[in-house]
Symmetry: C2
């Protein structure tokens, strides 16, 4: 017996290079009544995140690839419509790694209840969710900014970069953000209090960094990779820490990412470069989320969301990530 | 009043690319009597080390460049000929960062007495000296090999690489050494007990590594850089540690070192890449040297030296480092 008709989005074919709308396919299915321990969710918000590009390819990565002709999944906030689980009630707001699907049945262990009094529910897809935790562990565990140090962030206006920069500010660092539009730079400088901002599309990034970082660079929080990173690497200090959070400029490259190898600079500067994925820190999520919530409530961490509306527009939002369409967390309201 | 005539080797001009004999100049000087707290040293052994290439250029690096038309300095073992220091007596063997010079006056704080009963005096330029300490801290602090893990070492037959591999063996790792001659491979496998050896000059390094490391690579101790490292990086495991100790294949490059950037692989594998210089660990030298000496005395760390004789041949030995002439520590006996 079908309770609801649901729309879902499948991976139609794997992209070569930049994905297009042709990589996605819509279909409608019937969602049956929940069985024991199952919960029926109505999707309210879908998060699109750069890391999902990796899952569209079938090369080995830190998360398994999406399966072809199966529903795509990512961060979702939803509302419980029916529950056969003792842990959830109708009307609860929940978050989880769920399908790009308007209604869906989930196992109770796949979702977590969220408190709508703590923060707007969408914050659990951003500053209090995966992007916030990604910023938290990358900056604090790897970057370890100290009072007075210089921290540079690429992709600074995204959900992760903007949080990472504010965490570095909390630790007393001087923070320089790199982004690609005037609106983003204004957000970083005027709303978030970044010390300096750099538009990588204008003028030479190396020279802009040289001006913005007269004492060199102690921490580089990298969401972007490529030539922006090359320019940063030339200016790192002794014992610098380079946090490799993402490499969005490379996700759609069809050939190898070739450029100056950073190893010589790492040895000359006794510097550290470390990649990570937020799930490496799963055992510490609870404490981190609490600290992020405290900072948010104290006004020390602000956030912005770019929200477009309509289930059909999820692929468009996802593709927009690679064009830099978003400031802060990019969400689709269903 | 001149006590001794001394020969010395000066930096005649800075090399572009591979150094040649023309970069060095010999001259003879008079060495005066020692003043208070000074010691007159007769040089017995001079160490030539790859890192010295960096000091011949005037680009910024972790150690200041050699000065043009000044005496070149490096690791030296000598004998005290005259002492005006209460800390040293005639006949003492000492080690220090001293000039390429047959006789020289030094301040007492520039040298350290060595115990010829503990080990042959030359060991203080190798396994018990800078190269041994470099291996020790790189492998133990950055590499952190665990029992059963796979460790790959490039430049494995040099003074640092051969020690690093044996330290990884002590920690229970499976150790694969990369070198460029049959004699070196035989030394690594038959004398030092490396589990597998790879000749980078023969056959494809990537495929040889694939065969030698069926479980992937957990620690890469890199002395070489360039394409050998590219082949290793493709095969690292989750949470791998890459120790950037040196990049000898690149020291004489006249252009930028361009190749696949490793950042994407670091983020996919949550891997760490860290450069260092042994002086980062100066506060821990004493304990480390004691542990190295214990391992040496227990037969757990063996070493080999390549020694040529004659002060005039120091430049030749230095240049030989870049041709792979040496197995183990390369020394010149004066």
């Amino acid at each position: 017996m079908a309770a609801y008709k649901a729309k879902q989005i499948l991976l139609a074919k794997r992209p070569k290079g930049m994905p297009t709308l042709e990589n996605f396919k819509f279909q409608e299915i019937d969602v049956p009544e929940p069985a024991l321990n199952e919960v029926l969710i109505k999707t309210l918000y879908v998060s699109v995140d750069p890391y999902m590009r990796g899952r569209m390819s079938d090369r080995e990565s830190y998360v398994p690839p999406f399966e072809l002709h199966k529903v795509i999944s990512g961060g979702v906030v939803g509302e419980v419509i029916e529950s056969k689980s003792p842990d959830f009630n109708k009307g609860d707001f929940v978050v989880g790694q769920l399908g790009w699907q308007t209604y869906q049945l989930v196992q109770s262990e796949e979702i977590r209840k969220i408190d709508e009094n703590l923060a707007p529910i969408t914050a659990h897809l951003g500053v209090l969710g995966m992007p916030g935790l990604t910023a938290y562990f990358g900056m604090l565990d790897i970057g370890q900014p100290k009072n007075g140090e210089t921290v540079v962030i690429s992709g600074a206006a995204g959900a992760v970069g903007s949080t990472a920069g504010q965490i570095a500010k909390i630790k007393g660092a001087r923070v320089i953000g790199i982004a690609g539009t005037k609106e983003k730079l204004s957000f970083l400088k005027n709303e978030l209090g970044f010390d300096e901002v750099i538009n990588y599309k204008e003028y030479d990034v190396y020279k802009q960094l040289k001006n913005a970082c007269p004492n060199g660079i102690d921490v580089y929080f990298d969401n972007v990779g490529g030539e922006i990173s090359d320019a940063v690497m030339k200016q790192i200090n002794h014992q610098a820490r380079i946090v490799i959070c993402g490499q969005i400029s490379l996700y759609n490259l069809e050939k190898a990412d070739v450029g100056p190898r950073p190893q010589t600079q790492l040895v000359i500067k006794s510097a550290l470069m470390k990649g990570y994925i937020v799930s490496d820190y799963a055992s510490q999520f609870k404490d981190a989320a609490e600290e992020l919530a405290q900072w948010m409530q104290a006004g020390q961490i602000k956030y912005r969301e770019t929200i477009i509306e309509g289930f059909e527009r999820i692929p468009e939002a996802f593709l927009g990530l690679f064009k830099g369409d978003n400031i802060g967390k990019y969400l689709v309201k269903i």
